[in-house]
Symmetry: C2
Subunit: 330 residues, 2 copies
């Protein structure tokens, strides 16, 4: 890798001059500029971003930490963030967190050290106290996926308690009395909150048990398909299931198809997300739709607003609405 020094000796000018032709070409004489530029392309010189960032207080990057790249859920949110950053001409850097709290933190640190102008942290596992500290330190940090109290204005989130309540009300309205849940990762805050909302409504209606019939499938289709059979055997009275995301619902439906369990007659299903596939499968999945792309975009704008003065967020709702979509599975 050629450095600025190499260009300097190759062209015969000082490194300062080389730096100028790269950053402020107008400040340098035409003939000099041309000779330096020739040296630059001869050597294939490209400025080292690390050194640049070390020196300057800013860079043209926006950062996103996300636990995974592959799922539609994560990638749709990521796309929204990316669009927001692009509007401000920031290159978007997306760092995976390997689904651990340490990974989330490491990814975040990396991004701050890279001098990202704005950072969106899609945090599932980090402790609330740490999150608060980070948001306190860094005004251009926005959080997606959960609400950090005291910093609500910089979180793009869904009222997951209300999502859980909505699912329960719908199942009750359909006449179900003995209902269960398929949970995502139990350590994730979203899982706890949705479960609390769901449980509250069921209990208030007088149909609660402690605990409610439930099992965890880590938000994964395959895992849900594997675990649902033994659950159903142990809980033969359950007539409806609240799946904490669409993918786990798909897994349950995979099993039901194989096992001859009829949906919704034998088992009703309500889920959360409304991924693309859910309206096309048979039967079509009833679900609580989340505007994922908008969530990401909002978070991106929020982060940007903390960094740049000219970014307006008036009229931007950071508490994102959700919507029950009743289809064939309930």
């Amino acid at each position: 890798m050629a450095t600025i020094k190499d260009v300097s000796s190759e062209s015969g000018f000082s490194i300062a001059t080389v730096s100028r032709v790269v950053n402020n070409p107008d400040l340098v004489a035409r003939s000099t500029r041309e000779r330096v530029q020739r040296a630059i392309s001869n050597l294939g010189y490209v400025p080292n971003s690390a050194a640049r960032m070390l020196h300057k207080q800013t860079a043209s990057y926006g950062g996103l930490v996300s636990s995974s790249f592959g799922t539609e859920y994560h990638s749709t949110i990521a796309e929204g963030v990316e669009v927001a950053f692009q509007e401000t001409r920031l290159l978007c850097i997306n760092v995976g967190s390997n689904m651990t709290a340490e990974g989330e933190l490491e990814a975040y640190r990396l991004l701050t050290n890279f001098q990202c102008k704005a950072i969106v942290l899609h945090s599932d596992r980090l402790e609330l106290e740490i999150l608060k500290r980070l948001m306190h330190e860094n005004p251009s940090l926005a959080v997606v996926g959960r609400c950090v109290d005291g910093f609500e204005k910089r979180c793009a989130y869904v009222d997951n308690f209300e999502v859980g309540r909505g699912a329960a009300r719908h199942l009750l309205a359909c006449g179900h009395r003995y209902v269960g849940q398929v949970l995502g990762h139990e350590e994730y805050s979203v899982t706890r909150v949705r479960s609390q909302g769901f449980t509250q409504v069921i209990e208030d209606a007088g149909f609660g048990t402690d605990p409610l019939p439930q099992f965890s499938a880590n938000f994964s289709q395959v895992t849900a398909a594997e675990r649902v059979e033994s659950f159903l055997v142990a809980q033969p009275n359950v007539t409806a299931l609240f799946c904490h995301n669409d993918q786990m619902a798909w897994g349950v439906m995979d099993y039901c198809k194989r096992a001859g369990v009829r949906i919704p007659q034998d088992l009703a299903i309500i889920a959360v997300d409304d991924l693309k596939l859910s309206q096309f499968m048979k039967p079509r999945l009833s679900t609580i739709a989340l505007p994922l792309n908008q969530i990401g975009y909002t978070a991106g704008r929020l982060a940007l607003a903390g960094a740049l003065d000219n970014v307006k967020i008036s009229g931007l709702q950071n508490l994102i609405g959700h919507k029950l979509i009743v289809r064939d599975t309930t």
Copy 2:
């Protein structure tokens, strides 16, 4: 942001000692270490990655440059890359290229400056000569999505010429004689190569026109839905369409549903990718399946192999197979 200097003065020890407790705790006396560590946590000190990278010749990151985060196509490949990196305990940094050649290059440079151990470049637009130069310079760079001659062994790619030929043969076998194409971005190499393969077979069969009826829709569902009507009006004899990806096929099908065009009776469709949705829609989409996740994983391994000695790639196929899946649209 606290720096190593702050920790130094807070603890009363030199910055060298602080550096040691961070990187080589064993080299420092227990009591000193403890006092320094206390200072570190008081100040919330975290080493600056940029400075670190500037000094060291290596870091624990793997990099990916990808033109977009949101599509299933890109995110599935990205997931494969991420998994490969994770196996070697590298955090994966994914930088968007904003779909421009300059963006691809800038993203790549960023990643090298960050001292990424291995880099996967999902390049659609960069000129071949530049690509060759980069691969020559950097042995731990792998390319995904196309084949760079002279560096085949470090490319994870599909034989797109053969993909185009396969699509044409299938359409011919179905009895179609007057066929057209829906192209992706015309600047992308993948578009050119698939088109050449397709055209060759059609011409060899004696049904070629110059050019073939075709239009571009930038790999986008919405764009395809918008543009297909005027195309069909101008080309009323076309009975079958080769869409260069599933998403554009979906767009065409959206239009056909609205316009009352029957598939496959009035218009047959063959596409490429086999995204999740394609087997569930009605009618189910005939398509040439690409193992996207495997492509990404392979590219990740290839890049790693160029960087680390202990990464084995024996038995790893870098020319990835594709497979025609005939469903309802042909």
